[in-house]
Every structure is written in C-alpha cells, then in structure tokens.
Assembly symmetry: C2
Homo-oligomer: 80 residues x 2
C-alpha cells in the first residue's frame, strides 16, 4: 500500500520560500503569477494490509516526525 502525505504551511504562517518563487517568476517575465505556496509531498511505501489502521499509523508518523504541526498542516491519501 502507498501513502501520499501532503504537507503545507498553515494559513497565516509567513512563507518566504513561496514569496521568493513568485518574485523570481515575475522577474523572469511571468507577470501572471500573483503568488506561490511551497509544500512537501512524501510518498511512503507500506507493508500494511488494512486501510483504517494504516491511516491511523500514518497520522502518528505525521504528528511525530513528518510535519511540524505548530506551523504545518497535512493531508493523507492512501492508494493500493
């Protein structure tokens, strides 16, 4: 089973990386870019069988290691 974890900054948290991307794109002539947000995507290959339990375990992984829940939010997708 595969788990895809999307991690992004919570709304209101300063995103200097996103700003740098938007500004650089503007400087390169892409004037249509109003703003940019950068996040992470982590794809896990799991040897789990049961979806509900797998999701709970991945939530624990996010809380303990993958996401900094003070400033980041996460979303989990499971695929067979």
């Amino acid at each position: 089973m595969k788990a895809i974890v999307y991690i992004g900054l919570k709304p209101g948290v300063l995103d200097p990386q996103g700003r740098a991307i938007a500004r650089s794109l503007n400087d390169l002539g892409f004037a249509e870019v109003n703003s940019a947000l950068q996040g992470k995507i982590i794809e896990l290959d799991l040897s789990s069988e049961e979806k509900t339990e797998a999701k709970q375990r991945v939530e624990q992984m996010c809380e303990k290691l993958l996401a900094n829940t003070v400033i980041e939010s996460y979303r989990i997708e499971l695929r067979d």
Copy 2:
C-alpha cells in the same frame, strides 16, 4: 486560475532525504515503512484566462526555474 506543480526526483536518482525519512520512521517503531520519497509541491495563483496557454507558460516556469530537469521530473495540474 491555480496551477499545482508536483516535482519529484527522477527514478534512479539517489534520494538521501527519502532514505533518512524511512529510516527515522523505522527507528521510531513504524516497521511497516519500506521506503519513502520526498518531493515538492508548488501552488501558483495565476491571473491567466486561457487553460492551454496557462499550461504552456507553467511548463516554461518549470523548465526555467521550478524544477532541475537534470534530476527532477514535474507534473502540472490546472484548477479554476
């Protein structure tokens, strides 16, 4: 219009960050994790009207700035 750009390492490229994640999860007791891949996700807010042209422009942004096409591949999704 929003463009979501997914950027990941091409197959075969060494991914030390993914390995570190998988190993740390194993060390924390998540033995079901076989491997991990880490990628980036960039969400762009665009003031474009026309989808086909917007996609071409975002492809140019990936080639010029967002992705390192020697080692990374990218995928673009457009949303209204």
